[in-house]
């Protein structure tokens, strides 16, 4: 297993820039997720690590060796495709043995390695089956088996759960993470599904328009997003952005919202702009009976363990998460306030989060 380092990686297709001067370090044995909306460059980044695309400029280091311009076959990396790409003219055993045949193992060694991988993935009873007769989850396991059978330096996965139905997907999320831990793998995983990313990753890199916006643990990505895009992309529902019409200065610890004043974490930086945003997650707000920001209940979503209230205010619609036994009616007038210190100020000029007591 290996450490992967990406230095100033850049890729353009004609006029279209797919990846912009990205820098990332993926640690040994790390489960690293590239997350972003479609077209953000995450798959292109992965394909460059694999050697399926060549970078326009920049370096890719695998165990400190520059492999950026080597052929895919010379990198000792395994790739799991979204559509699995199992060879339809071979049975499961031959699919698993295919990567080994190139490495001049004896037949008994190949058999032993195939059996070991099959046992690990619990597909040893399917070895003689045709690929086309397998169910989605089993195809997924065969694709993983083919990747891990030769114990490569790193696993690259391109939305491998994208085509599975919801039930299988949750199961495979667990299995994938367990497999990763069992074989001490280094995994780079591409997805647009934030739940997959949050549940599996050691670290997540959020990408948009070819740029890596933030690479951190799921907890930090969720609670302390560095940009408005990350804050909005992660979380369901996303973060509330409340417009503030005042310039924020260092050491400021409260802001005016309508006619009430709201406490915020003490700021370490000021903004350039006079129009900024207060970012606050729905679960960090609470209903209060007095001195809060006023609004009317616009909608109530019941989600079993909780309720999401949409509150219409003069500052726009704001979502608040409350306990599911909270009783509110549509059009009822309520007041809300912050629950804790987890608020972030985003500078309106560049959408970056300000440093503060909380954001440290």
């Amino acid at each position: 297993m290996a450490e992967i380092e990406i230095k100033n990686l850049h890729k353009s297709f004609g006029d279209f820039v797919a990846v912009k001067n990205s820098n990332l370090v993926i640690e040994n044995k790390e489960f690293f997720v590239l997350l972003g909306p479609s077209g953000c460059g995450k798959t292109t980044t992965l394909r460059m690590i694999a050697g399926l695309e060549l970078p326009t400029s920049g370096n890719i280091l695998l165990d400190r060796e520059d492999v950026g311009y080597l052929r895919a076959s010379q990198r000792d990396i395994a790739f799991v495709f979204q559509l699995f790409a199992l060879y339809p003219h071979m049975n499961v055993r031959n699919n698993l043995a295919f990567p080994l045949k190139m490495q001049k193992f004896s037949k008994t060694e190949v058999d032993a390695k195939v059996t070991e991988a099959a046992k690990l993935l619990r597909i040893d009873h399917l070895l003689k089956s045709k690929v086309s007769s397998l169910a989605g989850g089993d195809r997924q396991r065969v694709a993983l088996g083919r990747a891990l059978v030769r114990r490569p330096k790193a696993f690259l996965m391109d939305e491998p759960l994208g085509t599975l139905d919801a039930e299988f997907r949750e199961l495979m999320c667990l299995e994938l993470r367990k497999l990763h831990d069992d074989i001490d793998a280094t995994t780079v995983y591409v997805t647009h599904d934030q739940q997959e990313a949050m549940s599996m990753a050691d670290r997540i890199a959020v990408m948009n328009e070819g740029e890596v916006l933030q690479a951190d643990s799921p907890k930090i990505i969720y609670n302390k997003p560095k940009t408005k895009f990350v804050a909005n992309f992660i979380g369901s529902p996303g973060m509330n952005f409340i417009p503030i019409k005042e310039k924020i200065t260092p050491n400021q610890s409260s802001i005016k919202l309508l006619d009430s004043s709201l406490k915020i974490p003490e700021q370490r930086e000021g903004t350039n702009s006079n129009e900024n945003f207060l970012g606050v997650r729905p679960e960090n707000l609470k209903l209060v009976s007095e001195n809060g920001v006023k609004g009317n209940i616009f909608g109530v979503e019941y989600l079993g363990s909780r309720k999401i209230l949409t509150v219409e205010t003069q500052l726009g619609n704001i979502k608040i998460r409350v306990d599911s036994d909270t009783q509110v009616k549509i059009n009822e007038q309520i007041q809300f306030d912050t629950l804790n210190n987890n608020q972030i100020i985003f500078d309106g000029s560049n959408d970056m989060a300000l440093q503060s007591e909380f954001m440290n």
Binding site: G51, L52, S73, F81, L83, Y87, H89, F98
Partner: protein, 315 residues
């Protein structure tokens, strides 16, 4: 009452019967000449040219014997002086007051056809699949123009360029050689082969060869081990079209071959018997000529049926 047992997208009983009737009529019309040819091959020389034509006749293997042998007529006293015939075919020839003087040229002509037919088919499909893969996967400069140019070689009948090819082949020493005929038929088939196979290659997802390349194979190895096996349907369909063309080609074979590399099509119609064409022998030659291409088509038929729908129902 409406028949609810069939789905609305299925054909009704009436239109199915109509379709079957049309197919049967068409089949009879196409099969009459072929069955007449097979019947002629089992007639005697006299019964083959009798008028009105005989539909029921006493079968004879004279045509087949004549096809494979050269014979000469001998006076009766010479025939009587010979020892009795060893084999059934000698006896048959003897009863027509002739003796066998040696084997005919049919077998060499037939094997020329096999060598040239299968050779040209192999190279058309092999080179065609390489070109089709490249045109399907790589950024080739002027790709569309190139494809049009390849196709344009089929916009006139190949025989239109017979004279330049004749002169070229004579200068190059390719006239009346197996290599020359294989090259010629390969060239004529290649445009069809490239176009057909490109369609099939386009449908094979790139992920397969990418997976193989990550698994340590070169692009060429990935092509042979992963892409080609999945293009089987396309290859089979293309091979049949190429085979049928090169097996049946007549005009170039007449023009360019004579002794060494002559194929069966120009040879068969020239089989002369006594006082005219030997129709049973011609029938026998044509019947035997039909067999390889029939076997080839039947063997690949499963692929052909899926193949000529151009992969519309694959996966």
């Amino acid at each position: 009452m409406m028949d609810t047992s069939r789905s609305p997208s299925e054909a009704s009983g009436f239109s199915r019967k109509l379709a079957a009737t049309i197919i049967i009529v068409y089949m009879v019309v196409t099969l009459i000449p072929i069955s007449w040819m097979v019947a002629t091959s089992f007639k005697s020389v006299d019964s083959a040219i009798s008028y009105p034509p005989e539909v029921f006749f006493e079968p004879s293997l004279e045509g087949y014997v004549n096809l494979f042998t050269n014979r000469s007529r001998q006076p009766k006293d010479y025939l009587d002086s010979l020892p009795p015939p060893d084999t059934w075919y000698e006896e048959l020839v003897r009863s027509r007051e002739m003796v066998i003087t040696g084997p005919s040229k049919f077998l060499p002509r037939y094997s020329n056809s096999l060598i040239i037919g299968f050779g040209a088919t192999f190279f058309s499909v092999f080179l065609g699949s390489l070109a089709a893969y490249a045109l399907s996967r790589f950024k080739v400069p002027l790709k569309d123009d190139l494809l049009f140019f390849i196709l344009s070689t089929r916009m006139f009948p190949p025989i239109a360029v017979a004279v330049p090819i004749f002169i070229m082949y004579r200068k190059l020493g390719l006239g009346d050689t197996h290599v020359g005929m294989i090259i010629l038929y390969t060239v004529v088939n290649l445009s069809l082969s490239v176009w057909l196979l490109k369609g099939f290659m386009d449908e094979i997802p790139r992920e397969y060869e990418e997976a193989a390349m990550i698994d340590g194979y070169s692009r060429m190895q990935a092509f042979f081990k992963v892409v080609l096996p999945q293009a089987t349907t396309g290859i089979a369909a293309t091979a049949i079209f190429c085979m049928i063309f090169s097996w049946n080609e007549y005009a170039f074979a007449v023009l360019l071959t004579q002794f060494n590399a002559q194929t069966a099509p120009p040879f068969i119609p020239t089989i002369i018997g006594e006082g005219g064409l030997d129709w049973p022998a011609i029938g026998a030659g044509t019947t035997l000529f039909l067999i390889p291409v029939m076997i080839f088509t039947v063997v690949l038929r499963k692929h052909l049926l899926r193949g000529i729908t151009f992969g519309a129902v694959r996966k």
